[in-house]
């Protein structure tokens, strides 16, 4: 068996174990050293455990930085370092560094400063992960979108204002058969936007009244006990995975709607927009309800009391005092709910259709932006095919929409807060 054949998982485990052992030994030896110093009657400047960590920092931190650099080099393909070398370095170098570090420990060394600085660095770098994630999402979506929009058969204006979405032709075109067959890829995303909008609209028609009304009940009418039961009950709806909602919409609700429509003399598609819209609305109820509940609970009690003192009933107080005061918060909840609905994927993938249909009839088949992102990225086309890349163009619009909705809702909430702070 050659050295290259060592199973990387085993290598990792063995190295990890040895590293932990070496680390423990290092820590112990340092503590022995500090105990010696303390026994000698000298006073340490930091508590003994800091010296132990000080030694560990010196033993492993430089190595960690080097390893990350090597990994980066390997990923970018500049050079490749065998895993065995890295493992050997992790075992040998700390052992080598340990002795000089222990010798350097004296009573007037303030180990705490270095250790706490390293801790701060670790905390900060953990916090940076989220920044990198955002940058990663932005860049990955942006770069691929640029590739998409630079493709000869695609133009930005057509994408934003075109009403014909049939990317299927793109495959033939790239195979050099596009023109002779007369098929042309069309990337007009308006039908997708319209479908998204209509399904979102249906969802809002369900979620907003039920969400707001149930929030009113929970925050204004319900006794403490009812609140304790009712709130988690509604939160259960939020805990149900979207794939389950999708299954329910497709298997149970859509056929019911088709039956009901047939009974009323209408014709409905099994992939109508109503089923995913309704179920999405139900999914958003707890979101809407808990946000509105928070907003209404934060309306100061004394303005309610003032209203009661004037002889208003509860409903009058709610309608004329609490709701107007909570209105900006409710609007911002509404905007956030829209952004959830626009980005929702599984329900529409399972219950809505694939055909890009520009219609306002909720009983007809409709499709959305997210459906096509999934469809184009899971197809078997090549990665650089415009049909695949179109998913990134759609992803970019989706990202824009949600970010704008979020920013607007934050602004609305901020203005709302100002009003009370001014009092």
């Amino acid at each position: 068996m050659s050295i290259q054949d060592i199973n990387p998982t085993i290598l990792l485990l063995v190295t990890g174990l040895v590293v932990v052992l070496v680390g423990r030994v290092g820590y112990r030896m340092t503590r022995n050293r500090t105990a010696e110093i303390a026994d000698g009657g000298e006073e340490l400047r930091s508590t003994p455990d800091y010296y132990g960590w000080y030694a560990l920092v010196w033993m492993f931190l430089p190595l960690l930085v080097i390893t990350i650099l090597v990994a980066a080099l390997e990923l970018t393909g500049v050079m490749s370092v065998p895993g065995l070398w890295v493992a050997a370095a992790w075992i040998a170098l700390p052992a080598l560094i340990l002795m000089p570090v222990i010798r350097s420990i004296r009573s007037d060394l303030n180990a705490r400063i270095l250790v706490e600085r390293v801790i701060y660095g670790v905390l900060l770098s953990a916090a940076m992960v989220s920044i990198f994630t955002t940058i990663g999402i932005m860049l990955s979506v942006l770069f691929e979108s640029i590739q998409f929009f630079q493709h000869p058969s695609v133009s930005v204006t057509e994408f934003l204002f075109g009403t014909e979405w049939s990317p299927g032709g793109a495959f033939l075109e790239s195979a050099g058969r596009g023109t002779e067959q007369g098929t042309d890829a069309d990337f007009g995303a308006v039908p997708l936007f319209a479908g998204t909008l209509i399904i979102t609209g249906i969802a809002m028609l369900v979620a907003v009244p039920i969400g707001v009304l149930s929030a009113i009940y929970l925050s204004e009418y319900a006794s403490k006990y009812v609140r304790r039961v009712g709130k988690p009950l509604i939160e259960i709806l939020a805990g149900i995975p979207t794939v389950v909602y999708g299954f329910f919409a497709a298997i149970t609700v859509a056929p019911l709607i088709v039956k009901a429509a047939g009974w009323a003399g209408l014709e409905a598609s099994y992939q109508n927009a109503l089923a995913p819209g309704l179920i999405m609305g139900i999914m958003i109820i707890p979101f809407m309800s808990s946000l509105c509940d928070d907003v209404m609970s934060s309306v100061p009690q004394n303005i309610r009391r003032a209203s009661y003192a004037m002889g208003a009933t509860s409903s009058e107080t709610i309608k004329q005092v609490v709701l107007p005061a909570a209105f900006p918060g409710i609007i911002s909840a509404f905007l956030l709910a829209i952004s959830v609905a626009v980005g929702e994927t599984m329900i529409v993938v399972m219950a809505a259709g694939l055909t890009a249909n520009l219609t306002a009839n909720p009983l007809a088949e409709m499709t959305t932006v997210t459906v096509h992102i999934v469809d184009n990225l899971t197809g078997d086309q090549a990665y650089d095919n415009p049909q695949t890349l179109s998913a990134f163009g759609l992803g970019l619009t989706l990202l824009f929409m949600t970010l704008i909705l979020n920013v607007v809702s934050t602004i609305v909430i901020r203005k709302f807060r100002m009003r009370y702070e001014g009092d």
């Binding site: 994630t133 009304l213 929970l218 509860s314 992102i373």
Partner: protein, 545 residues
């Protein structure tokens, strides 16, 4: 002037003002009027309260309808039809497995069961010249000599080949205990064999069985030898005479029934031939339906607990498709997500709550985390595809890429929950720590974290529950592909529970539908358990400062 006119106009339109002025301004009439008005207001109040209560009831009613519907759809999948039948294992039936069953159940038995029977009744055999002598009974290994593979042994398409000798050591390893037992038996049965050389098909060792069943974890030289022997026709799958005797035997067993039988027994309308105008369109014929009914009455077909669902991985055959691989995959992926997210999430929260100066960077991080929590989950899948798969070269469909993608999505949830838990710790605790001369890190480590740990756990469990149910980003990074086996290493392809539900849902065969529904029930049970755990931890550790 203008204002006054407006005022007058308003007064006229406002009914309450108008009614005060009429001549019948008696106290009684006014009281009557006020009482009437009050009545109206009370009714309005009641109506409004009813609306708000109604909203709660609609939500609750939906929840009940939803759960009942899923249980009705998924419950039947807990049972699976099995057939009690004679199975004839014999050298003749083994290559034509249909013959092993009596005619009346031949078309009712699952394809998967037939395949399993064929596999179980066969054993990998190796053809080898055995040199019998007096010692053979005691030391059968001496009967094996190295064999030569020459050009003549090889198939016509493998003629660019040098003659090769297979060493004795490897042959012994391939023959194994069972093969040598056979040699000893032969010798005992017929002692006159001593001194002769006879070509025999010997049952092989576990190593050989594994190779013939497609295992690839053999050592390199062994693999080459085995391939060579296979090409030279020295290996075959033969009838397992060790298990069933040379003549074969007939046993009565419960075997898995075909999905059609199962669905028919469960009484689904779409299976009944009588529900179709043209019986030819029905999945099963009238005769078959009658036969199933008869066998069912005789107790030869029955619904038994569906342990296949929990013991098998995914399959293209609905009656044997199970969730085991997906459950293990989910545990694996979510375990990794937890290992990634918990440290990073807690460290980030500690930074933001306890250490961060109020500067631009901190504000950026905070805004960023809030935005990240609001980004549609599918975009994390797009990131995973573009960054992890295409840029970093992680294997598609693997545990690793699934966990990395989900971790990015779960991180903001855990951070937000952990920050809330840290913020709930009163400042007096921190100040007490500082007053004793502790550093900031010591205060966090020794005082703030221990009292907020239950809040952190609660938040993390909720984040993890969200990750378990997430599907969209995993579809994008390829976790819905057909994966029958549970993953072992992080680079193995895997499926997860919601992805498995999705892929069963997208199957056209009806048998998969109820499996998807049962899968949903399993998933929901896991989620309810986790959320219940979170509520329990929260209730247990609740304290007021």
């Amino acid at each position: 002037m203008q204002d006054k006119a407006n005022l007058k106009k308003n007064r006229k339109e406002d009914p309450s003002h108008e009614k005060k002025s009429p001549p019948a301004d008696s106290w009684e009439a006014q009281k009557e009027h006020e009482l009437h008005h009050l009545e109206k207001r009370r009714r309005r109040e009641k109506r409004f309260k009813a609306y708000t209560l109604g909203a709660i009831f609609i939500a609750a009613a939906f929840l009940v309808f939803f759960l009942v519907d899923l249980i009705i759809k998924g419950y039947p999948a807990l049972k699976q039809a099995e057939i009690r039948t004679d199975i004839t294992y014999s050298p003749e039936t083994i290559d034509n497995i249909d013959q092993a069953f009596p005619e009346q159940v031949r078309d009712l038995v699952s394809r998967a069961a037939k395949r399993r029977l064929t596999r179980e009744a066969k054993v990998a055999e190796i053809r080898i010249p055995v040199h019998y002598d007096e010692n053979t009974a005691k030391n059968p290994e001496s009967a094996i000599h190295p064999i030569q593979i020459t050009k003549a042994d090889m198939p016509p398409w493998k003629q660019d080949f040098e003659a090769q000798e297979i060493p004795k050591k490897q042959l012994i390893e391939l023959i194994g205990e069972r093969g040598f037992n056979r040699i000893q038996q032969n010798m005992k049965a017929d002692p006159s064999l001593a001194g002769s050389v006879r070509e025999e098909w010997l049952p092989g060792s576990d190593l050989l069985q594994g190779f013939m069943h497609g295992a690839t974890d053999l050592k390199k030289e062994m693999m080459e030898t085995a391939v060579l022997l296979d090409d030279a026709d020295h290996l075959q799958m033969g009838f397992d005479t060790g298990k069933y005797g040379t003549e074969g035997k007939t046993v009565e067993e419960w075997v898995l029934a075909d999905s059609h039988v199962d669905q028919y027994l469960k009484g689904y309308d779409f299976m009944k031939p009588s529900a179709y105008d043209n019986p030819a369109n029905a999945p099963i014929s009238k005769e078959k339906a009658a036969r199933i009914d008869r066998l069912h009455e005789e107790g030869k077909i029955a619904l038994h607990f569906n342990d296949y669902f929990f013991l098998n991985g995914d399959s293209k055959i609905p009656e044997v498709a199970g969730m085991r691989a997906a459950i293990i995959g989910s545990v694996y992926v979510v375990g990794l997500v937890f290992l990634i997210c918990l440290p990073i999430g807690v460290l980030t929260s500690i930074y933001l709550e306890e250490f961060a100066p109020d500067n631009l960077l901190t504000q950026t991080i905070e805004v960023n985390i809030n935005n990240l929590a609001a980004i549609p989950s599918i975009l994390f899948g797009v990131l995973g595809l573009a960054a992890f798969i295409n840029l970093f070269g992680m294997p598609r469909s693997s545990v690793l890429v699934g966990a990395a993608t989900l971790a990015l999505m779960t991180l903001p949830i855990i951070i937000i929950a952990t920050r809330a838990a840290l913020r709930a710790v009163p400042d007096s605790i921190r100040r007490a720590g500082f007053a004793m001369g502790a550093t900031r890190w010591q205060v966090v480590l020794h005082h703030v974290l221990p009292v907020s740990i239950s809040g952190i756990m609660t938040g993390s469990i909720i984040g993890i529950a969200k990750a378990i149910g997430e599907t969209a980003p995993l579809i994008i990074v390829g976790l819905v592909s057909f994966v029958p086996d549970a993953p072992v290493t992080p680079t193995d392809p895997t499926s997860v529970m919601p992805a498995q539900i999705f892929s069963w849902w997208s199957m056209s065969l009806r048998g998969f539908q109820e499996r998807a529904a049962l899968g949903i029930l399993v998933l929901l049970a896991v989620l309810f358990f986790l959320n219940g755990l979170a509520v329990f931890i929260r209730a247990k550790s609740e304290r007021s400062w």
